[in-house]
């Protein structure tokens, strides 16, 4: 109940601060431009138009959603402490975990709204322009939206963990940008480099799976680009899809674990903080 009161206020604030509007417009704009520009290579007559959109949109999501999630979440705790609002809030009959959970629900709701609406517009635009869309493509697209929200949840939780550990907002922002760069860009490049050098001699397929599971962005990529046969043929990931033993359920569970563990750690760190 307390968590929901706090969630409601966070959503209210996000609407007031135009966070909701800005992120929805950003996601919708990019999704729309990808939908229409991205269909150039396949032509507009293709029945697979939505599958192409899934490939390009999920690649975009890997960069954008973690960034938006970290932007919202990095100062959730340390920022409120610096502004002094946390002091007053914690003098009320609420537990600290309820504060954290409330903020999480609120921030995730904002992110989910922006993603569903932004990406939904792209799908609707395809239908409106006369593309025929198969049911399996639609399922894959819905799964993409759902997993994008889940990816957002992961990075909101990671942002809270950073926010509950550091002493000032600047540090939180710096660490979050570093984490974003590492998880979204550097990790993959490093992994690719290692695999290229190794040429499959000493690194087993299981080890590659493990390394992919250690990065939520890769888990998301794997889920969307290999999870659905019709999509993976476009993504150029068919090879990887055959070699990996990770099922869609396992990937989803991995994303859930990636959400719950940082969130739990953040709650623990926050409950030990002194203001």
């Amino acid at each position: 109940m307390n968590a929901l009161i706090i969630a409601r206020k966070e959503i209210h604030q996000a609407v007031r601060n135009r966070w909701v509007l800005a992120s929805t417009l950003l996601l919708a704009g990019l999704a729309l431009s990808l939908t229409f520009l991205g269909s150039a290579p396949t032509g507009t007559v293709s029945v697979r138009a939505l599958d192409v959109v899934i490939v390009s949109l999920s690649s975009l999501t890997i960069f954008l959603i973690p960034l938006i999630a970290l932007l919202i979440s990095h100062d959730a705790i340390v920022g409120d402490m610096e502004r002094g609002t946390m002091l007053l809030l914690l003098s009320y009959p609420v537990a600290r975990w309820q504060v954290l959970l409330g903020k999480f629900i609120g921030h995730l709701a904002v992110l989910a709204f922006a993603t569903c609406l932004g990406y939904g517009i792209a799908a609707a635009a395809l239908v409106a322009t006369g593309s025929r869309i198969g049911l399996d493509s639609l399922v894959a697209f819905a799964a993409m939206i759902g997993s994008s929200v889940l990816l957002g949840a992961v990075f909101v939780a990671i942002g809270y963990l950073v926010s509950s550990l550091v002493r000032d907002r600047g540090t939180a922002a710096g660490i979050c940008i570093g984490l974003w760069l590492f998880l979204v860009l550097i990790y993959d490049m490093a992994l690719l480099g290692v695999l290229a050098v190794d040429q499959g001699r000493s690194i087993s397929a299981a080890a590659v799976d493990a390394m992919l599971l250690l990065n939520p962005a890769d888990v998301y990529r794997l889920f969307n680009l290999t999870g659905f046969a019709n999509v993976s043929s476009f993504a150029g990931m068919a090879g990887l899809a055959q070699s990996t033993t990770l099922s869609a359920q396992m990937l989803l569970i991995a994303l859930l674990v990636w959400t719950l563990v940082p969130l739990g750690l953040a709650a623990t760190a926050f409950s030990r903080r002194e203001l």
């Binding site: 307390n2 206020k9 604030q13 007031r16 502004r83 002094g84 007053l88 003098s91 537990a95």
Partner: protein
């Protein structure tokens, strides 16, 4: 009278710094207690300890039956707190802010909104808090502390930034609450304001409680001289009244005024001789030691006995 707050032998260290050291006291229902001391004397630290925002290094605290250090918070529904430099989320309006806090205390929003009128924010309640002045934020801070008729009120420098008129209203509100049984603990630098109102004073110095009692009680302990001011006609420059006992500390103020510093047990005797001396005394003022003087006295004493 039942007590609402127990503080038992509490110490709080920040690294090597002893913010609070060996402090014990008990606050009872209906008491209006002034917590005074320099900046850094440990007043804010004590309030944060009572709220569980920080945990004591040693000792124990109980507030409305809760142990705040263990994260218990059921009693906080009946607790109001106004932090020093209160701040709110700038994007919400005054009404929305107060409604949010009322929901957290399970109070009806309508009853909380009435408080906005009580602190004189009725007209500005639909504006965003970001546009408020310091005084208006302080009013909103007071309003939120008063939500739900609290049994314990912790007010950290509540009157800073308030205009004189609102200060008056503020003291009326908290005196009424105290009369109805609320424990009010307020820290302040404005000692003259508290003098008339606080039933009890706790003086802190460098994290240690150096005095605790009613102002009358503290006057008895401190044994500071009472100032007697006399307006005497026909006194030559530099001349002192003849009936004055030799050695009594006194000085001439401007014009006809003589100020005598009377020890507590000499006070009545001096007044007798002053009135018995005939018509020369035109006017008379008796000024007991002020809270300012008592405060300075107890601090000097604390510094002498480490």
């Amino acid at each position: 009278m039942t007590s609402t707050v127990h503080v038992t032998d509490v110490a709080k260290d920040y690294g090597g710094l002893k913010a609070v050291c060996g402090v014990s006291f008990e606050l009872r229902q209906g008491e209006l207690v002034a917590l005074i001391g320099h900046n850094g004397a440990g007043k804010t630290t004590l309030m944060k300890l009572m709220l569980g925002l920080i945990r004591p290094t040693s000792g124990s605290i109980e507030v409305l039956g809760d142990n705040p250090a263990a994260g218990q918070f059921a009693g906080r529904r009946q607790l109001g707190y106004l932090p020093e430099n209160v701040s709110f989320d700038a994007a919400l309006t005054g009404r929305e802010t107060l409604a949010f806090y009322a929901r957290l205390k399970r109070e009806t929003v309508a009853s909380a909104l009435k408080l906005l009128d009580a602190v004189g924010l009725g007209d500005a309640s639909r504006r965003r808090v970001g546009t408020y002045s310091k005084g208006m934020r302080q009013r909103l801070g007071l309003a939120q502390a008063l939500i739900g008729h609290p049994r314990v009120l912790l007010l950290d420098e509540p009157t800073t930034g308030l205009d004189p008129e609102l200060r008056q209203t503020f003291y009326e509100i908290i005196q009424r609450l105290a009369a109805e049984g609320t424990t009010v603990l307020l820290s302040s630098h404005a000692l003259t304001e508290l003098e008339e109102r606080a039933g009890r004073v706790i003086i802190m110095n460098r994290g240690v409680k150096v005095a605790d009692g009613s102002i009358e009680g503290l006057r008895n302990i401190a044994r500071l001289p009472t100032k007697i001011r006399l307006k005497i006609a026909g006194l030559g420059p530099g001349e002192l009244p003849s009936w004055l006992p030799t050695g009594a500390p006194c000085r001439r103020l401007d014009g006809h005024l003589v100020e005598i510093e009377a020890e507590p047990d000499q006070k009545i005797e001096l007044l007798h001789s002053a009135t018995a001396s005939g018509r020369a005394v035109e006017d008379l003022d008796v000024l007991p030691p002020t809270l300012d003087e008592l405060y300075a006295h107890f601090l000097r004493q604390a510094e002498r006995t480490p």
